[in-house]
Amino acid sequence: MPNIKLHSSDGEIFVVDVEIVKQSVTIRTMLEDLGMDEDEDEPVPLSNVNSAILKKVIQWCTFHKDDPPPPEDDENKEKRTDDISSWDAEFLKVDQGTLFELILAANYLDIKGLLDVTCKTVANMIKGKSPEEIRKTFNIKNDFTPAEEEQVRKENEWCEEK
């Protein structure tokens, strides 16, 4: 199977089967735009992804390479977050910094499956929490003034009703 070289932001080169990285719409597009032959020796530069994260992304794509394309989302159904596979759950047992870097990499590389599962994981960490609990979980600074916070709270009071 033809291989392709990926060049991480910190200068590492990864040789990967081209079928595996085609899960990334960004890479797929780059290959088409650059008119690259699948056998091309020229590495694809990924300036936004460092080697540690790229390694994880390649690991995820390798495991998922034979996944069928996901079905079209039924807009009328609530989106589930309780259907993360055990392999993915294990794969995502990483520190928060890595989790968010994976989200940003999945976004940059446009890998829908990886973006969905990482966002589901974060969503599960948000559900049912108060704003202060959410801030604590993710170490986010509250940049509202008390007056601003009160106004937003009032505006959205109706969201608490069933």
């Binding site: 704003p131 959410i134 801030r135 940049d143 509202f144 969201c159």
Partner: protein, 252 residues
């Protein structure tokens, strides 16, 4: 930390997995998250709207005065309460219009799902069928009955409700007429289909109405500092009344 600075494209995917109550919490976490959720037409609000509101409500001009998805969702959360209306009334599948069954000798009403105790609020009400002899529009506390025997100005009929009878232009509270409204000679009669805006100011404790974008004056003063609900009552068989919550009134 990375979470606060997530790009909006990512927030769109992340928030699409959360329910409305969690979205509210998220909008209070930090300004970046708030800014994303403040775009009332983004896909996250659109999806919640599509899931909760009937297609017919979204396709018709019922919600024409609530332009954004978030506002439409909010209007639905404030709509007629199918669990807080007369047994002779049902809420149609569009979620916003009540239908009064042709039951004789009874006055039937409904309250909105959410009552107000603070702030300023505005909602539209209109009849989509004949008024009959008594068609009341106004406010009720939770304690007022939503149904009674006979044909009676139910909204306004006790100390816990305040109503305007669109048929004879009388204001009613505590069962008594409080005068004509608007206080003009030959005030035009209500036409079926005309949208009336009800303006409740909980800080000033007043209730006023607007018709055809014309402010008609304060109707009731001295409202109590208690939860007040949008309400109507009707007597005509098979008539229908719609109510759409708009939000705070635009000043000016």
């Amino acid at each position: 930390m990375a979470a606060a600075r997530l790009p909006h494209r990512v927030l769109e995917v992340l928030f699409s997995y959360l329910d409305i109550s969690d979205l509210r919490s998220c909008s209070l976490v930090c300004k970046n998250w708030y800014r994303f959720l403040n775009d009332e037409n983004n896909d996250v609000w659109r999806l919640h709207c599509v899931r909760k509101l009937a297609e017919e409500a979204l396709k018709s001009d019922l919600l024409s005065n609530v332009p954004t998805y978030k506002a439409k969702l909010r209007a639905f959360y404030h709509a007629w309460n199918p669990n807080d209306c007369s047994r002779n009334v049902y809420i149609k599948s569009n979620g916003f219009t009540l239908h009064r069954n042709p039951v004789a000798q009874t006055t039937d009403g409904a309250r909105g799902k959410i009552g107000f105790k603070t702030g300023r609020h505005c909602w539209e009400v209109w009849w989509e069928g004949p008024l009959g002899t008594v068609a009341m529009i106004g406010l009720m506390t939770k304690d007022s009955p939503v149904q009674c025997q006979g044909y009676f100005p139910l909204v306004g009929g006790d100390s816990n409700s305040w109503g305007w009878n669109l048929v004879d232009n009388h204001l009613i509270h505590n069962g008594d007429s409080q005068g004509d409204y608007p206080p003009l000679n030959n005030a035009p009669k209500y036409q079926v289909g005309e949208r009336i805006r009800v303006i409740l100011d909980c800080e000033d404790n007043t209730l006023a109405f607007e018709k055809n974008y014309e402010f008609l004056g304060v109707a009731f003063r001295g409202l109590p500092n208690t939860q007040l609900y949008p309400a109507v009552s009707a007597v005509y068989g098979n008539t229908e009344v719609s109510m759409v919550y708009l939000g705070p009134p635009l000043d000016g």
